[in-house]
């Protein structure tokens, strides 16, 4: 819709495509600055501190100052590092996250690419991140980085399995992989969200609720694991591996990892939101409908989507500053011994329910 709007305005589909592609980037940058500030303030207030206070009101300029500083930093490539891979790795990691934003439906009017296989696409594209992290670990020629990268690869690949099982549950219920359609199916009030059984009719809806809830929990846990956050932040475990796979990175290259990390947090939250919590749909209906201003609705949808996404980002921060870190074998045990069986049984039960 936005694409058509720009295409009509500029008369060129190529220009319009470029603008559409740049919009998520703008969103990522603004969001990362906000999330970075939020992370420091949230952690500070949880810990009885104030957090950044000296730049701007309650330090809101802090991430900007960080960025200006990082831009000025020397870019070090260690002598024995593999230069090409070392430089390519952060780009690849960032590209993985950025590409995932293409299929995220921010509102009914704006989705970068309305793919039929949106869910699968996000899952596939975010796996590029693993390649980037492995490259970083290998190219740094640093043992900490290498161990961190190997841990990361093992972790992300393992946790994709329960994610896929839960996505299968959603597919069985909704019959679509398209994220926009998925959101549209959950329109109306929050009673139509998939976490509450979706738009399924009759008793099945009530039978579905507990299993959808389990699915949601499993999905959220594994998505936290996929974005390498505490308690699953083993690849960059500070107290063991210094800084993990980005130990050797400085300056802008490190900033790219920072961007990718925060962007990834939003991607996984957005995925959870789109699948279970109504996507961009408002929980109560729209002001635009009430006062009969149709163009307000997409803006409201964008607002609701961002709020829901940011809420889950906030939960991730909350977990990070509360919980200790798991050990690598416990991490794998959690995935293979608990999450995968639970997700699988959940899938079986939901399929059975839907056949009935």
């Amino acid at each position: 819709m936005i694409f058509e709007f720009f295409a009509d305005l500029l008369g060129s589909q190529i220009l319009s495509a470029i603008i559409i592609a740049a919009l998520p980037l703008v969103f990522i940058i603004l969001y990362v600055l906000l999330a970075n500030w939020l992370e420091r303030k949230v952690s500070a207030h949880m810990q009885d501190r104030l957090g950044p206070m000296r730049v701007g009101w309650h330090g809101w300029l802090q991430p900007i100052a960080d960025m200006i500083k990082i831009l000025q930093k020397e870019d070090i490539v260690a002598k024995d590092a593999d230069r090409k891979l070392f430089s390519a790795a952060p780009v690849l990691v960032f590209v993985g996250c950025y590409a995932a934003f293409a299929a995220i439906p921010f509102s009914s009017a704006f989705v970068g690419a309305d793919l039929e296989l949106g869910l699968l696409y996000i899952l596939a594209v975010s796996s590029i991140v693993v390649a980037g992290i492995l490259m970083a670990g290998w190219a740094s020629n640093n043992k900490y980085a290498l161990i961190g990268a190997v841990r990361s690869a093992a972790q992300i690949i393992s946790y994709e399995i329960p994610t896929v099982f839960i996505i299968l549950c959603i597919i069985i219920v909704s019959g679509t992989l398209n994220l926009t359609t998925l959101s549209e199916q959950q329109s109306g009030t929050f009673l139509n969200w998939y976490i509450l059984g979706g738009d399924v009719e009759g008793w099945k809806k009530f039978a579905l609720i507990p299993f959808m809830f389990i699915g949601f929990i499993v999905m959220y846990i594994s998505s936290v694991a996929e974005s390498n956050r505490t308690p699953f932040d083993l690849p960059e475990a500070e107290s063991e591996l210094v800084a993990g796979y980005h130990t050797e990175y400085s300056g802008m290259k490190f900033a790219m990892y920072l961007f990718a990390e925060y962007a990834n947090m939003f991607v996984v939250s957005a995925l959870v939101v789109a699948m279970f919590l109504g996507g961009y749909q408002s929980p109560f209906g729209y002001v635009g409908d009430l006062i009969n201003v149709p163009w307000l609705i997409p803006i409201e949808q964008f607002f609701w989507f961002t709020v829901k996404g940011l809420f889950f980002v906030f939960v991730q921060m909350w977990l990070r500053w509360t919980l200790p870190r798991l050990r690598v074998d416990q991490l794998m045990a959690l995935c293979w011994k608990y999450l995968i069986p639970i997700a699988f049984v959940n899938l079986l039960i939901i399929s059975f329910l839907m056949i009935l």
Partner: protein
Amino acid sequence: MALKTEEMVLNMGPQHPSTHGVLRLEIELDGEIIINVKPHIGYLHRCFEKHCEAMTYPQIIPYVDRMDYLASIYNEFGYAVAVERLLDIKVPERVEYIRVIMGELQRIASHTVAIGTYGLDIGAFTPFLFLFRDREKILSLFEMTCGARLLYNYIWVGGVSHDLHPNFLRQTKEFINYFKPIITEINNLLTYNKIFIERTANVGILPLDAAINYGITGPNLRASGLKWDLRRDDPYSIYDRFDFEIPVGKGWMGTVGDCWDRYYLRILEMEQSLKILEQAIEQIPDGDITSAIPKRIKPPEGQIYARVENPRGELGYFIMSKGGLQPWRVKVKAPSFVNMSIFGDLCRGHLIADVVAILGSIDIVLGEVDR
């Protein structure tokens, strides 16, 4: 048939976020599993024993402070006890009480750092900051008494440098009442956290016979199940007048002598310290704060080994006098140094993440390991 793998040598430290200072660990790894750990110490060797041979007896006290900088008062306490025994002097009653109050406050302060940084090692950031916030309250009590926050130079041979501030006892009581709920809070936040238990229970088990053979002392020994506390078993000062318990490890969450036991024992000890503090505040008499000792301390020829129960274990001073103003030789039994020597054995067969957990649980201070 197993695949042939190559071992990797990983160097941890001297700059590493969780080596508690400047310790270097040379770890031989097979994947993530540890084959061998070799600690390299001495990055903070500050020549304490050489300084002792060049200083007079009272001049040594500031250097003693800087050894175990998390429990300075206790280092002074031990040194003062040793020199006083060598000189055969008795200190006034009030001084003994002040020393005990200060020592127990220091024990709590030291254990808060141990527990906080242990949480940090496991990956929980917040308990560390909570406990540092509460430690500030103890430090302000010290500051009120002697003007220093960390290195006090407070306990002198034959007395203490200043009398207590008039508000000290009241504020200490307030602190005790403030700190009791904090222990519960930390228990809820960290101790009984499922992930924390998973990370620490059944990890780094220290059997009792090995602990005795390696001379391990303090909370680490008690966590292995032996009721051995010098405050009870070799009483010094006036510890025999107080009623307190000596907690021992029972393997609450796993095996006796694992990391969780060592961690939890410190929490229990803080509770006991609070108990001692309460009694000492009730009983403290008025009186002198220095005993009559000559200006120039000149012990007779002879030697003495005196020891006290430091927050980390048995802190002993072996002082050898040849009748001069300076000691001929001072050798310190540093609990961290001895506790550290078993570290390599504890780690074998565990994962990298456990190295950090084990190191944090034996709670070393590098200033004392290296002296």
